[in-house]
Amino acid sequence: MTFTVENLDVRYGGVHAVRGLSLTVAPGEIVGLIGPNGAGKSSTLHAIMGLAPARGSVRLGDRELIGLPPEDVARSGVALVPEGRRIFAELSVAENLRLGRAARRGSQSTLDWVYELFPIVREFRSRQAGLLSGGQQQQLAIARALVAEPDVLLLDEPSLGLAPSIVDVVFDALAAIRERGLAVLLVEQRAQRTVAAADRSHVLANGDLQLTLGPQDAGDTDRLVAAYLS
């Protein structure tokens, strides 16, 4: 099912965080959303999940998601890996994964695939999640989103604060998730890496979509810098 955002507007009081954003993500695609701090990237994801007040249209297939509470958005097939992981530190890794299945009861084969993707999650499944390292927690956060078998995976800065080797693990996992046919909307600060990995990347500034880049633009540093400064 194609994921469509049309004329999305997000306002916090007098602040216009996102201005008429439109984008689509087809199954098996990664779409990047990059831009400086305060550009409206996270606000877009929050609005999609029903966590921020929004106008416009967000559809998964034919189903309109705007106006639904977060739990119904999740049950419709949209999963968010939030910024800062937001894992349940006092629960075990296995319990965090069980919570991931609150939206949709994914199959055992999906769980096995997730374990294959992140062996660390299988290895530490009986450990308290708060005792994992930052990189391991990030893998758990992605695994928790995947066990619900979502159609769309939203990721909010998954590489933030991670060691370079773990960033590689995360981006490798994103490639595998795309191969499995999920639609991925990736919000990132690592612009070059995102542009290279995504099928297309939209550059946001002050809530406006400035331009769209393809993987071929990843090496064009001047264009990236110009987009950020525009």
Partner: protein, 296 residues
């Protein structure tokens, strides 16, 4: 002041009852971040149900069933009519709403049953004594300890072994993230409110054995003491909150029995002085040993 085995038994009785009240208050606080000041009035309503059942000559089991039915119905009504429509409003609005519900229920009881109240007699047999090793222990003390232990064990099993329990625990830690994962807010909150109501019914049964005269301010003082106990234990976490409720109940029970009759009016002074002292020394609560770690 001399502490006897009898005083300790009374302390255990009150500690067990207050522990259950603390769990009831803590469960709702966990998912709604709301201290339900109307909790004592739920207990009062259950106690009046028991009193009316005694007056009508109903057997004890039927009185207990009526008590549960009334308290659960009121809990459900509170969730549907007050908490749910106000969800999303500020905590202050919700807090004032629970005060309003408390006053409303108390006023209804006053109009309906009068200020002199009613007497619940069908469970008075539990107020009699067993003599164990020369110590007179009221049956209700043993029943209260056993019932509280069973209730807490069942609750622990519910929270740790079932999906709804896991959802409740997650919601009490981070409701926003739990909802984002698909945990249904209304289901979890309704469930917590109903369990809290069931515990209020259990408390009503036990308190009416201890104090058969049921008046509109029944359990009001107990609720205030338990709220202090919950804060002393650690409001944010269920086990510390329960231990806080038990500790303050135990201390009240023991001191209440041990203080000379002409000094018993000072009991609340002792209890609340201890509360202030504990909060000055350990503001997070006496039994909250968790560390808050925030990754940035």
């Amino acid at each position: 002041m001399t502490v006897t085995w009898q005083n300790l038994a009374d302390g255990l009785l009150l500690g067990s009852v207050y522990a259950l009240m603390a769990v009831g208050i803590g469960l709702v606080f966990g998912v709604l971040r709301l201290v339900n000041f109307a909790y004592g009035q739920l207990v009062m309503a259950g106690a009046f149900a028991l009193a009316m059942a005694s007056q009508w000559g109903w057997p004890a089991w039927a009185g207990i069933a009526l008590c549960f039915a009334v308290v659960l119905a009121l809990s459900a009504a509170m969730e549907w009519v007050v908490f749910r429509p106000l969800r999303g409003h500020s905590p202050a609005v919700m807090l004032v709403a629970t005060f309003a519900v408390a006053f409303l229920l108390q006023s209804i009881a006053l109009l309906w049953f009068g200020s002199l109240g009613k007497i619940a007699t069908s469970l008075t047999f539990l107020g009699r004594f067993w003599t164990i090793g020369g110590v007179d222990i009221r049956k209700i003390a043993v029943v209260a300890v056993v019932v509280a232990a069973v209730c807490l064990l069942l609750l622990q099993l519910l929270l740790t072994r079932t999906e709804i329990g896991l959802h409740m625990r997650a919601a009490s830690m981070d409701f926003s993230t739990a909802r984002m994962l698909g945990v249904r807010a209304n289901r979890v909150i309704s469930f917590a409110v109903l369990i809290s109501g069931a515990l209020a019914a259990v408390v009503a049964v036990m308190l009416t054995v201890q104090t058969p005269l049921v008046t509109p301010d029944f359990a009001l003082r107990d609720t205030i003491v338990v709220l202090a106990g919950v804060v002393v234990g650690g409001l944010n976490r269920p086990i510390p909150a329960t231990l806080g409720g038990f500790a303050i109940g135990f201390a009240s029970g023991v001191l209440g029995g041990a203080l000379p009759t002409d000094q018993s009016q000072y009991l609340p002074t002792f209890v609340f002085a201890a509360v202030i002292l504990v909060l000055l020394v350990r503001p997070r609560g006496l039994f909250d040993f968790s560390r808050t770690v925030e990754r940035v």
